[in-house]
């Protein structure tokens, strides 16, 4: 069973000395931060940022650029789907698995955090829906949603969609099988396009398209944003100010955090031994039965991690509410601080996969169907699997988790001082948040240090 979709090289466990020193740094930094952080909310005030120069605005927001990017994205989508359905069934020789699990699923979060919500113009599904709407408008009819937006269900549809994807990646026994992936892509396309046709493009992008919701949340970290039709440069994290009142956002973030931590846990000897025992109990059964049972066991583990994230958060905010005698629930107020933590987990778990397995896209691009082609002259490119040393990987892991932790605390702190007039209340509400963040960070580190 390959963890995280594809890729044969697994990171070595973070050494104990790294684990203990980083955990200590995290604790000290947290308490220092708590004492010296700003006393008035800063993030929201800076969220408007500074407008980029006019000519950049014209280029970045031009219709020509958008149409070009959307067309390229749709073409790439067709290539991925075609290679998945008709290319070689050898996982490592087919373009689709490496593209989906490595280039797309690790690259897009990174792009979103660096450049903002670029998924808006890079999403192939949005491109197709925009194209359809354009065609309908050309035919002289108004493109209209069939039903009003499903406001009541909030982001739960998106959370379900993301859970389905991570279950395919982390629970299913053959996530990189090109045919399985092809069918999954086709199904997801129905989900995305059907939803947009029924509820409208914008509503479904906000509530149902799992990737769009994930990338738009991560894009709030970014130093770039489009506000009121203007591209602005702003301090990172300022997009995370305020509360998040759309239902299901906690569930969504829990899927993001829970899935990455389960990916770590599923590689520990504890879980691997458990799966080996299950296999032994199933000796004599058919491969399909074994795969099904193992997939179910993994899916249960995945769901347990998602639930654990949600429950620990709910416990922390309930505790905070008691401490400050708040009259209403604080659940919507401290969800956004989890977003940088979720990104830190992604970086910590997938950085090496991107750096190692990502190189294979160079040769796969020349021979996407695995037929011996050499379209770009790169088919014989030899990936360097020692390009990142284990030490580099460990440093990236502990540094990203620590930064994510600090960013999360800062965002939570900013929210607290915005929320409570009494500075002591603001501080008091942060003890549970601090405990929660320390739990997530040290827990995440611990998972990375397990053999």
């Amino acid at each position: 069973m390959l963890a995280h979709g594809i890729g044969g090289v697994r990171d070595l466990p973070v050494p104990e000395s790294f684990f203990f020193s980083t955990a200590a740094v995290v604790l000290v930094v947290s308490f220092v931060l708590l004492g010296v952080l700003w006393q008035r909310p800063l993030l929201e005030r800076h969220a408007d940022g500074r407008r980029l120069p006019r000519f950049l605005q014209t280029v970045l927001l031009s219709r020509a650029l958008r149409v070009a990017l959307q067309a390229a994205s749709a073409a790439l989508f067709v290539l991925v789907l075609a290679t998945a359905l008709f290319g070689t069934t050898i996982e490592v020789l087919n373009f689709a698995p490496t593209f989906v699990y490595v280039i797309f699923w690790i690259g897009m979060p990174a792009l979103s955090v660096l450049f903002g919500n670029v998924w808006r113009v890079l999403s192939p599904w949005r491109a197709m829906a925009d194209g359809a709407a354009w065609a309908i408008a050309q035919a002289g009819r108004e493109p209209r949603a069939l039903l009003p937006p499903p406001v009541g269900v909030g982001r739960y549809p998106a959370a379900a969609a993301l859970f389905a994807f991570v279950a395919l990646e982390l629970a299913y026994q053959r996530p990189a099988d090109p045919r399985v992936l092809g069918v999954a892509i086709a199904l997801y396309t129905y989900w995305a396009l059907g939803g947009m046709a029924i509820y409208g493009r914008d509503a479904w992008t906000r509530q149902g398209e799992g990737f769009a919701v994930a990338f738009s949340l991560l894009a709030r970290i970014a130093p770039f944003a489009v506000r009121d039709g203007v591209v602005v440069l702003r301090w990172p994290l300022t997009g995370l100010a305020g509360s998040e009142r759309i239902r299901g956002t906690l569930g969504f973030v829990a899927v993001m955090l829970g899935s990455t931590s389960f990916d770590g846990f599923s590689r520990t000897s504890t879980w691997q031994n458990l799966l080996a025992d299950v296999r032994l109990d199933l000796v004599g059964q058919s491969q399909r039965t074994i795969d099904l049972v193992l997939t179910l066991v993994n899916a249960l583990g995945l769901a347990a991690f998602v639930l654990a994230v949600a429950l620990t958060y709910l416990t922390a905010v309930a505790w905070a509410r008691r401490l400050v005698h708040a009259t209403r629930s604080l659940v919507p107020d401290f969800v956004q601080p989890l977003v940088p933590v979720a990104f830190a987990y992604l970086v910590a778990h997938y950085f090496s996969l991107f750096a190692l397995q990502g190189q294979f896209i160079v040769l796969l691009a020349s021979d996407p169907f695995g037929r011996g082609w050499d379209l770009l002259g790169t088919a014989n490119f030899a990936p360097n699997l020692t390009i990142v040393s284990p030490e580099t990987v460990w440093y990236v892991q502990v540094v990203s988790l620590t930064l994510g932790h600090v960013a999360g605390l800062a965002v939570a702190h900013d929210r607290a001082v915005a929320l409570f007039e009494d500075r002591r209340d603001a501080l008091r509400s942060q003890y549970p948040m601090l405990a929660l963040m320390v739990l997530y960070t040290v827990g995440g580190l611990w998972l990375l240090s397990q053999g």
Binding site: L2, V92, R179, V180, Y190, I198, S286, T386
Partner: protein, 143 residues
Amino acid sequence: MERIKLASVICAAGLALAGCGSGDDAAAPTASETTHAGHTTTETETTQTETAPAAAVTVRILVRDGGPVGGLARPKVSQDDRVVLVVDADVSGDVHLHGYDLEQSVAPGDPARIRFRATIPGRFEIELHAQPEIIVGELTVEP
């Protein structure tokens, strides 16, 4: 009313697709079987390393009754070691070392011997592609 109907048609089409999805799913294991058949052994590579001097680290793993004897094997070697991975099994199939992507056939009484130089640090799954598949263990290459 018309719109609700159209919406339900879209949903129904999705369900139909999910139906074909599970059909394709069933075909998946066969697809990967052909994969391994067309993907056997790397004899040339292994014989090349064999000619090199220096003592090799031999890792021996016994597979009986559908699993590795004594639980998942967790051998450790150092980077740049010459390694001979011997898997002795009571079934026929291919032993696959992930990451290094080396494969070697195995049969009862005819153990697989994978010889290689451990140039890449990390953890690498050792799998036995047989019917059914067996996870044999994980090789750790320490820097």
